[in-house]
Structure formats: structure tokens, C-alpha cells
């Protein structure tokens, strides 16, 4: 119970801090907007084959906007050694991980809420698939990506080249999640007849999410040691 309470305080602190500084969320939303605008110029929205690009664009936005937030998540705790302040406080290392995860996840959800409708609008995309399935896939993919990303951000934060190191570590490990969610998104948005195939991808991503979330919980204690 204490674990969740302290994690919520930490997440609240990060989100309130973001509300004050507007450093991460604004950067993420601007990036997402740029990607959408560039892709909308590159592919003709009137062309039917363009619709096939949309699942990929959605996950390009989520992955790269997500990395912008993940990179700063632990680096922000280096100023004034505030990470030490958290480590000497009566909370488990997993609380710190969970708090950071919740804040990163919440920010990424905001980016998705703003950018995905904007993407559909600019591509003149009429949503004919299953909305609950689509939301589930976006949720599961983002969950796994942020869970692993938060852990690796903690790992790479002490490195001199952490901004380069994080993508290098993150992309290979999250590849199965990305393949799964892009495939599932493609089926849900364009070909609902093959929904059973999408469900299989969703199951794979769910299993991957759970395994890595538990592994991150078990290993974070070693990563956060000063």
C-alpha cells in the first residue's frame, strides 16, 4: 500500500512539475504534429493506399514522442541530486520506478489523445474498425513501451551519452511489442474480418508487457543504487 501511495506522490510531483515547466509535453506534441504534417504532405490523403500507412504513422509518433519524455524522466532527477532525496526517503526503489512509469505513461496518453485524432483528420480517415479494440491496442503498446523505457531510462541516466544510449537499448527490446501492435492496429483499422489474427497479436503483446513489467520491478533495485 505504501508502495502505491509513494509512487502516486512521485507521479503527481512529475506531472505537476511538467505543468509548471511545460518542457516535455509541449516538445512531444510539437514533434507529433510535425510528423503528422510531414506524412500528410508525403502521402496523398485521397489515395486509398495511404490508409495503409496510418498504423505505422501512429506508432512512429508514439515511439519517438515517448522517447523524448523517457530521456528526461530520470535525467531531471540529477539536478541537485534529487534522486538521492528519493533514495533516502522511506520508499522502495520499485516505488520510484512505478511513480516515474505512471507519469511517463500519463504524458504519453495525453500526446496520443491529441495527436491520433489530428492524424485521422489530416489524412481524412474514416474510422470503420472497432474503437474499443483500437484503444486496447494503443493502451497495451504504450504500456509495454513505457514500462521498458522507464526502466532503461533509469539504467542509462548515469551514462554520459544517455540520450543516445536509451534508443540503442530500447528499440531492440521493444521490437516484439512494436511488431505486434503495428500488425494489430493495421488489422483493426483496415481489415476487421481478420480480427482473430489481431487478437493473437494482442495476446502476444499482453504477455510481453506482463513479463517485462515484472522483470523491471525485480531489477530496478540494482539499477537505482548510487
Amino acid at each position: 500500500m505504501n508502495l502505491l501511495r509513494t509512487a502516486l506522490f512521485l507521479a503527481q510531483k512529475d506531472l505537476y512539475s511538467e505543468l509548471k515547466t511545460k518542457q516535455i509535453l509541449v516538445t512531444q506534441i510539437i514533434f507529433a504534429g510535425l510528423v503528422i504534417v510531414v506524412f500528410s504532405f508525403a502521402f496523398d490523403p485521397a489515395n486509398n493506399t495511404t490508409k495503409a500507412v496510418i498504423p505505422g504513422v501512429i506508432w512512429v509518433i508514439i515511439v519517438f514522442a515517448g522517447i523524448l519524455g523517457l530521456n528526461r524522466s530520470f535525467i531531471s532527477e540529477q539536478r541537485n541530486d534529487t534522486m538521492q532525496g528519493l533514495l533516502v526517503a522511506p520508499m522502495e526503489a520499485v516505488s520510484i520506478y512505478l511513480g516515474k512509469f505512471l507519469a511517463n505513461f500519463a504524458m504519453l496518453l495525453v500526446v496520443e489523445l491529441v495527436s491520433i485524432p489530428f492524424l485521422f483528420l489530416l489524412f481524412d480517415f474514416k474510422f470503420l474498425g472497432s474503437l474499443p479494440y483500437f484503444i486496447l491496442v494503443v493502451f497495451l503498446g504504450s504500456f509495454g513501451f513505457v514500462a521498458i523505457g522507464t526502466f532503461l531510462a533509469a539504467l542509462s541516466a548515469n551514462s554520459k551519452n544517455s540520450e543516445m544510449l536509451l534508443p540503442l537499448l530500447l528499440f531492440p527490446i521493444t521490437t516484439p511489442i512494436l511488431i505486434g501492435v503495428v500488425q494489430a492496429t493495421r488489422i483493426i483499422l483496415t481489415n476487421m474480418e481478420k480480427i482473430s489474427s489481431a487478437v493473437a497479436w494482442i495476446q502476444l503483446v499482453t504477455a510481453y508487457d506482463i513479463i517485462f513489467f515484472v522483470v523491471c520491478f525485480l531489477l530496478i533495485d540494482y539499477v537505482l543504487e548510487v
Binding site: 512539475s17 532525496g85 533516502v88 520508499m91 548510487v226
Partner: protein, 234 residues
């Protein structure tokens, strides 16, 4: 209160602490003296649970450090070189955040009172990033004691402080002592050590080379003992 037996810490093939044995009773105020690189701050970090010891046994309040970290952290107040404060937050927001993490009741009232006690009530809602070094240190002191710790771990707390802030810090340490708190203070300031500490230990090359009771305000006595142990040819 604090029992340390055969404590060693090795980092990158270098032995930083070489078998520290130390016993500190409740309510004692102990100065940790020694040259740069002697292992004073490392000793404090091990006690603050920031660094895991390589070997040795530490118990605080009768609880073994390895097995009861969360319980022990609850009674520790740690003030290192850095402020551990969030720049974009005001003193009140910083203290409320840390107070909440420590589970302090009526934290807003307590935080306001603490900010007033360290003489910064006019800056209660100003972001810390606009503060001078001395002002930041005052808030850092308030942060370290926001949860009424029974053990204070201070790492060169007087460095860079003006006379007003030094006086506030000393008053905090003495009032905590009156409440029965135990204080360990790494310092190079013999004057402040002589003023507030009951006992001093001298650390050199990762070992305790001297351990003595202090005479109130007798700076010369400390300097003399320090010179014998540290300044002499090693």
C-alpha cells in the same frame, strides 16, 4: 543507537572504508573529521542507505541496516552537499512533497512553520531556482528535518553559509539534540564542531584513527589532535 562493526567499502578495486568500528549512543552529536578522500562522506552515504557496504555489519535503532532499510530510512534525516530540492518548486511545495513521502501529518502547516523557522517566510511560494546558495541551504535543512528524524546525517552542512544561516543550522541541531536526536556531522569547520558536538572521530585512509570527547568550544584541542593524526607525515 548506531553500531558499526568491521565496515568496509570497495569501489573500482579501491578500498574506501577499511574496517570501521563505531558505536554511537542516543542523543550524541558526533563530528566526523578528516582530510579530503578519507572516506567521511562514504561512511555517511552507507549509513544513509545510499551505498551498500562491501562487508561489515550496521545496526541502527536495533535494526539491521541490510534487512530493514525502509524502517531505518524513516528515522534518518540526510543533508548532503547538494540541496536535494526541486528548482521549479517553491520551498512549500518541496517540503510538502518530501513530507508526503515520509507520511507526515498536517504537512502544509508543518512546512509553513519550518520555512518560517529558517527565516524565509517571505519566499514561501517563490521557486527555489531564484534563491541564493545560503537560502537554498536553509530550505535544504528544513527538508532534512521535515519528518522529525531521530538521526541526522549532515555532510559539511556549514559550507557556504552566511552567519545567519550558520546560527539557524546550529540552533536546529541543538534543538534536535534536546529532543533526543543523534547527529553525525562530517565537517572541516572545527569552530562549529567544537560549538555543537560532544564527540569527534578522525577518519584517515578509510580508518578511524582517533575518537575523543570534546571540550565545549575548545577549538585548539581539536586542531591539536587533528594535526597529530592527519598533518603528521603518514
Amino acid at each position: 543507537m548506531i553500531e558499526i562493526k568491521k565496515l568496509t567499502k570497495q569501489a573500482d578495486n579501491k578500498l574506501i572504508l577499511r574496517g570501521i568500528d563505531l558505536s554511537i549512543i542516543k542523543g550524541e552529536t558526533v563530528a566526523i573529521l578528516g582530510p579530503n578522500g578519507a572516506g567521511k562522506s562514504t561512511l555517511l552515504k552507507v549509513l544513509a542507505t545510499l551505498i551498500k557496504p562491501t562487508t561489515g555489519h550496521i545496526s541502527i535503532n536495533g535494526l539491521e541496516l541490510k534487512k530493514n532499510q525502509v524502517e531505518i530510512k524513516r528515522v534518518l534525516g540526510y543533508l548532503p552537499h547538494s540541496s536535494l530540492l526541486y528548482d521549479q518548486y517553491s520551498p512549500l511545495e518541496n517540503l510538502v512533497f518530501f513530507g508526503n513521502i515520509y507520511g507526515v501529518k498536517d504537512i502544509e502547516q508543518k512546512a509553513t512553520k519550518l520555512v518560517k523557522e529558517v527565516g524565509l517566510s517571505f519566499f514561501l511560494n517563490e521557486p527555489v531556482k531564484n534563491f541564493s546558495r545560503g537560502m537554498i541551504q536553509r530550505i535544504a535543512i528544513a527538508r532534512a528535518i521535515v519528518h522529525d528524524p531521530v538521526i541526522l546525517l549532515l555532510d559539511e552542512p556549514h559550507t557556504g553559509l552566511d552567519q545567519g544561516a550558520i546560527s539557524i543550522l546550529n540552533n536546529v541541531i541543538l534543538s534536535m539534540k534536546e529532543k533526543g536526536a543523534t547527529t553525525l556531522m562530517v565537517t572541516h569547520d572545527f569552530k562549529q564542531a567544537a560549538e555543537i558536538c560532544d564527540r569527534a572521530i578522525i577518519v584517515k585512509n578509510g580508518k578511524i584513527v582517533d575518537d575523543f570527547k570534546m571540550e565545549k568550544n575548545n577549538v585548539e584541542s581539536i586542531s591539536h589532535k587533528y594535526d597529530i593524526q592527519v598533518e603528521s607525515v603518514s
